[in-house]
């Protein structure tokens, strides 16, 4: 994994009449990161992805609608991108893919809370349970507890209607120890979206990329490079030539 200590650069751009702050790092194909309700933070998994991607991570407090993110991309001259989102950021990512399918060529949803939340509520999954953040895996952000949250039933239903039409290749990452959402949530996405691939990240909680950064970086890099065919193993299996 990239061990560079360089930090992402803080920048501001005008988008749809508002100043949007964002972090930028790396070079290559554009990768937009939409953070969760807990706030903008980046892990060492993001840092690893910056080896081959130009990461743009807007602060979503000022840009909550897909049109604003799309306007930001226009302002930055980004015509095509992949979109990665965590938690509640997934709803925005899905809305972007629905609104501008030509621009979004791949989606990565990490522990998304966009749909199927009522069943989770009924089973007592957490609303607002605190998740401790290990400082050594942070690349940007504040260590300490974060609160997760789930959308209401109306938002969830709206997102479910939307995703059936999204044909963008989508990678779904779910932690097997996530106390906020169940791995069962993956079924909804996989059975509804025509090109969705769910991957269980073993022993990860809701902050999947913080708990298993190498695993997340590896699978995301593979998916971004190969889309649907990421399922084919291209690793060198030779032990001793």
């Amino acid at each position: 994994m990239n061990t560079s200590s360089s930090r992402p650069a803080r920048k501001t751009a005008q988008a749809a009449g508002a100043a949007v702050e964002y972090l930028e790092a790396g070079a290559g194909d554009a990768l937009i990161y939409l953070h969760s309700a807990g706030g903008l933070r980046l892990s060492v998994a993001h840092r690893a992805l910056c080896e081959k991607h130009r990461l743009i991570a807007p602060a979503l407090e000022a840009a909550t609608a897909p049109a604003q993110i799309i306007a930001l991309l226009d302002a930055l001259g980004i015509k095509q991108c992949s979109v990665m989102a965590h938690g509640s950021g997934a709803a925005l990512a899905l809305a972007m893919a629905a609104a501008d399918a030509a621009r979004v060529n791949a989606l990565i949803l990490i522990a998304p809370t966009a749909v199927a939340v009522d069943a989770m509520r009924a089973k007592g999954y957490s609303l607002g349970r605190e998740q401790p953040i290990p400082a050594d895996r942070l690349w940007h952000g504040v260590p300490g507890a974060r609160k997760a949250s789930l959308p209401d039933a109306a938002e969830s239903a709206a997102a479910l209607k939307r995703i059936a039409a999204i044909a963008t290749p989508t990678l779904l990452l779910l932690g097997t120890r996530d106390p906020v959402i169940s791995t069962n949530a993956g079924r909804v996405y996989v059975s509804t979206m025509p090109k969705c691939f769910a991957t269980m990240v073993y022993d990860a909680g809701h902050e999947v990329d913080l708990d298993r950064p190498e695993a997340v970086a590896s699978i995301c890099a593979n998916f971004l490079a190969n889309r649907e065919s990421f399922v084919v193993n291209r690793d060198d299996g030779m032990i001793n030539p």
Partner: protein, 366 residues
């Protein structure tokens, strides 16, 4: 109380003793085939005698048990065994492909109409040499395998798995198990770590290659841990493995065992001391290493083995008392019984019949 019959598929010819892996320079295909047929005959008899389950297990590179893939033997048994279930006790998952294990067990559950018990094992120390797996990874691999196997059985949509030791990009097994949500899972709970894992994940407990005294403590710990996790195991959740030989009288049973040359030496996993020492230093045994190594050491004289709960031996009345003690001390609801005097021909078969006719009906209410 239930009982399973475990016929170890022992090779019936000469072979080198005291080594592992065992050379095959004296191997005879004719003897091996006859050995398998003898095993199948014993199993048919056990099924007819009323044993609740027929057990298969995994061992490698030795004539003691020609069952390197227990699922192949179990597959044959689905067409041989009419009444008993199949206790897979079981695949050594850390050295295997967990998705393949999930697939095979699902197939077996279908082939026998939903009568499989899924024992997921870590394997004895020597098994890590078999497929070149680092024994220091044994427990972590095992725990990851159990979760992955369970998900493979229950997740209806294709999924990938990004584990620490296993990486699968797309899993969607066919067939699925008959039993819902899946066959009952048992693991060996000899160590505190495994007792905790079983308790946390609501898995059944198994004890083998141990003594009554050691298993009593381990069983109590497992049940105590389970209680902390919000559930209380019943006897149906605990299996105890031991040898058995029943005869008309206690004296006859002991004579048979002596004639059979019941071994008093070390077990399979202790045969190769270099391997055992290396594995022991890897952390394989867990935090109570000395207890775990000790239970695999010499099994002592026949009387000691009876006292230590390693052997049921005697007349039906005597054996029933021994079984009651196992139940009282360990809380086991099923005994997994290996043939204590397998080499003495008809009397070994009579022991199976006698157990079925005179012991089984009387232990149902224990």
């Amino acid at each position: 109380m239930k009982a399973a019959l475990f016929c170890t598929t022992r090779y019936g010819g000469p072979s080198k003793k005291g080594v592992w892996p065992v050379p095959a320079d004296e191997y005879s295909a004719e003897i091996a085939q006859k050995s398998y047929q003898r095993t199948l005959s014993q199993i048919r008899l056990g099924d007819e005698a009323g044993f609740d389950y027929i057990t298969v297990a995994e061992h490698h590179f030795a004539p003691f048990s020609m069952s390197p893939n227990p699922h192949i033997l179990a597959g044959a048994l689905t067409q041989v065994v009419k009444n008993a279930g199949l206790a897979l006790l079981g695949p050594d998952v850390p050295i295997l492909n967990p998705v393949r294990v999930a697939e095979e067990i699902a197939m077996l559950d279908n082939l026998c109409g939903g009568r499989v018990i899924a024992g997921l094992m870590r394997g004895t120390v020597n098994e890590y040499v078999t497929y070149n797996i680092n024994p220091s990874e044994s427990r972590e691999r095992f725990q990851e395998c159990v979760e992955l196997i369970r998900m493979a059985w229950t997740e209806p949509q294709p999924f990938g798995w990004q584990g620490r030791y296993y990486d699968f990009r797309s899993v969607s097994i066919w067939p699925r198990p008959v039993q819902k949500p899946h066959p009952p899972i048992f693991i060996s709970t000899a160590t505190p770590e495994s007792g905790e894992f079983a308790a946390r994940n609501r898995l059944g407990a198994g004890f083998a290659f141990t003594t009554r005294q050691i298993a009593q403590k381990a069983s109590a710990y497992y049940r105590e841990q389970a209680h902390q996790f919000g559930w209380d195991p019943t006897p149906d959740d605990i299996i105890y493995r031991m040898s058995f030989h029943v005869a008309k009288t206690d004296e006859q049973a002991l004579e048979d065992l002596v004639e059979a040359g019941v071994a008093t030496g070390v077990g399979l996993s202790m045969t190769n001391k270099a391997i055992e020492s290396a594995v022991a230093s890897s952390g394989y045994y867990g935090r109570d290493k000395e207890t775990q190594r000790a239970r695999l050491q010499s099994r002592g004289e026949i009387a000691d083995r009876i006292e230590n709960g390693q052997l049921l031996a005697g007349s039906p009345d005597t054996v029933i008392k021994q079984i009651q003690r196992i139940r009282d001390d360990i809380g086991a609801g099923m005994l997994d019984l290996t043939m204590g005097a397998a080499t003495i021909g008809d009397r070994a078969l009579q022991s199976i019949e006698m157990f079925g006719e005179k012991v089984l009906p009387r232990i149902r209410e224990i």
